[in-house]
């Protein structure tokens, strides 16, 4: 045990910061500071810069384009990006589908897909959930039937985040309807340009378009686009979901939002003084900071443990702790941000339709704060709801 960052690690943090200062477009940074999700173009541009530097997929093994960093370095890298803020490597590519291909895929699949994932030549999306299969993912109905030299997929996926940007989708489909639920599922890689795929937008409560329905109507998929063994897709799914939970801790992102909150709380007047001078508001903010510090250490413990678990193909149940706490903190901070803006958080969308705030119906910084609060309610629902995480913990840790 040695509980401190080494000189090398501190130097590494500076190296990441210098890279961000030199390479991250200021427009992207300001866009994200304002609380908006980066656009497709911003994400692609940035991912390519990371790739050029060899930093596109820190968690991957080195031979596939990973960095070979220590757990602490991986943590520092993510934290620095989120705090800048800059986009993190695209999760669907780097933390979801890529690792599945590395763990379960064929050599040919690795050659073909991984380099394009790293460089974001292909944007991937996640085709797991269905209208009838949310928490009970293994209840999915989407069917894949082998027909000569290809598979034919029929069915519907839903909640597919950013499918409107995607070139490829990774899909769980049922290949053996006779088998027990989890045992008849397979994991496929599907080109979004394949005839028979239809993407329909779903508008979320704050008015944004980030999720979609994806319909499959006799979609032909080459046989070699199956990952792992036929009917063994559930192993891929479990492995992937563990990684997904891990990504939801977002410690650096919460720290960045709290920093933003403090700036806003200094600008907002409350009772004739800046809001930040209100002890009750400060207490609520500080509570978040304390929980976040604990989460930060928990994340580092889980990362360190990851090295030991490598190759077991099984997620660490502790990732459920990260998921629950990480999302609670993010939701809590989004609530404080909305609260800080008071009534001025209530302006819907963009009244000028061009982001100019020419009408000045609210201070610039207040726009969208209620929208983010509404939208972030999703965090305790997706990636395995927080109730499901508690079920997982009850089973894995509590012996109940």
């Amino acid at each position: 045990m040695e509980l401190r960052f080494t000189d090398e690690e501190r130097a590494f943090r500076q190296e990441v910061r210098d890279f961000l200062a030199a390479e991250c477009p200021e427009a992207t940074r300001q866009h994200m500071i304002a609380g908006k999700s980066p656009t497709k173009q911003m994400v692609v541009e940035w991912q390519r810069k990371l790739n050029a530097r060899g930093w596109a997929a820190p968690e991957w093994p080195k031979q596939y384009g990973g960095t070979g960093w220590t757990p602490a370095q991986k943590y520092i890298f993510r934290e620095e990006l989120q705090m800048w803020p800059a986009p993190v490597p695209l999760g669907f590519n780097i933390n979801m589908c890529g690792p599945v291909i590395i763990e379960f895929g064929t050599e040919a699949q690795k050659q073909r897909f991984l380099p394009r994932m790293l460089n974001l030549d292909d944007w991937w999306c996640q085709g797991f959930s269905e209208p009838g299969a949310g928490s009970d993912l293994a209840g999915l109905k989407c069917r894949a039937v082998r027909d000569g030299d290809h598979w034919v997929i029929n069915g519907q996926k839903t909640w597919t985040t950013l499918a409107q940007h995607a070139d490829w989708i990774f899909v769980l489909a049922r290949t053996d309807p006779a088998a027990k639920k989890q045992e008849g599922i397979s994991f496929f890689l599907v080109d979004m340009k394949t005839p028979g795929i239809t993407v329909r937008p779903i508008v979320t409560i704050e008015g944004g378009h980030e999720v979609n329905e994806v319909w499959f109507d006799d979609v032909k998929v080459p046989l070699d686009h199956l990952v792992g063994q036929e009917n063994k897709g559930w192993d891929c799914a479990k492995f992937l979901l563990g990684n997904e939970r891990f990504g939801q801790a977002r410690v650096g992102a919460s720290r960045e939002r709290i920093r933003r909150l403090k700036i806003i709380a200094r600008e907002t007047m409350d009772g004739g003084r800046p809001l930040i001078e209100d002890p009750e508001f400060r207490r609520q903010m500080t509570e978040m900071e304390v929980e976040l510090k604990a989460l930060e250490m928990t994340v580092m413990r889980v990362i360190a443990n990851e090295t030991k678990r490598a190759g077991t193909g099984k997620p660490d149940p502790a990732t459920s702790v990260l998921k629950i706490k990480g999302t609670e903190i993010q939701q809590g901070v989004s609530e404080l941000l909305m609260k800080a803006a008071g009534p001025y958080a209530w302006v819907d969308g963009d009244p000028d339709a061009d982001g100019s705030n020419e009408w000045e119906v609210a201070p610039d910084w207040a726009f969208g704060l209620a929208g983010v609060y509404f939208n972030w309610r999703k965090q305790s629902i997706y990636g395995g709801s927080n109730e499901i995480q508690r079920n997982i913990m009850a089973k894995a840790f509590l012996g109940l």
Partner: protein
Amino acid sequence: MDFDLNESQGMLQDSLRRLLGDKYGFENRKAYMASETGWSRDLWAQYAELGLLGLPFDEEDGGFGGGGEEVMIVAEQMGRHITLEPWFSTVVLGGGFLRHGAEPGLRAAMVEDIAAGGLLLAFAQQERQSRYDLHDVATTAKKDGTGWVITGRKGMVLHGDTADRFIVTARVAGGQRDAGGIGVFVVPARSDGVNIRGFRMVDGSRAAEVEFSAAHAEAVLGDPEGGLPLVNAVVDEAIAALAAEAIGAMDVIHAMTLDYMKTRQQFGRAIGSFQALQHKAADMLVAIEQSRSMAYFATMAARETDAPERRRNMHAVKAQIGRSQRFVGQNAIQLHGGIAMTMEYAAGHYFKRLTVNEAMFGDTDFHLRALSDIGGLVQAA
């Protein structure tokens, strides 16, 4: 104390329930929101027919002589359908100012128009720096001959874009945060020196930023240098109406959640069979029942003439209901799962209205702080 509705109250509730049941489905509401005004003129006329627009005014002024109980009944139904019409701005807020502050002649003239559906009012008080302090007023009113001219900027003026007249708080004397020196003025919306920028709020209601540049007031309500007690009295009544609206909205979002829990199947059974969710739904009911009690208390407390006592109680109302509605709204979304995150599903819209309602005229933190600053509700012996 009698919690049951009398016959005429029952009729009021029934007729409104029927009207909104017919005309305020989720799809209707969407269409009203998308229309040019952002709400339904047609329904406004029907509210007038039902007597909702003249409801709280004295019969001799052309009103229906309803009291706080009647307002509560109507507000609750409005909350059940998260209606978009300017009933709260015109009748509760605007009407409150007329009832408590206007000269009999002006009052009678305006009440008649309001009751007939021909006059819309909006309360312009919010300023950039004022947050929830009604006495924090930088907008000025200056004497001009026999009248007053108003200069300043008001924000988040509920239904300010369709209002015919604004009720405006403006400073006649004293410093920006002084309790004294505030006047309440009536300013016609379509007149020189009034610049209105309308927009939609996150809960679907319309609002406006309003700039007054030496705009002429047509009347002053009450004492031009001592208007704050009037503002407080009106806002306290409005808080009681907001409380009832919150109850209506909470009841519906809770019922919606329970229905969904009974029908949504995962893992081969209804999600309502999972105890973790049952307990959450039960906690929601606890919060709603406590809030319902607080809404009754609000109506009772709003008629208190001892102003500090009334304020004290309204702080308690807002704090309790504020917490409850946040808890109920967040959990309604959570228990539904992804479906409630979509614009096409009603629960999210109730959640958004509850969020705005919570912070209107002070959020939970504001009222808890104010109440604790004055010693809470229970006096040490």
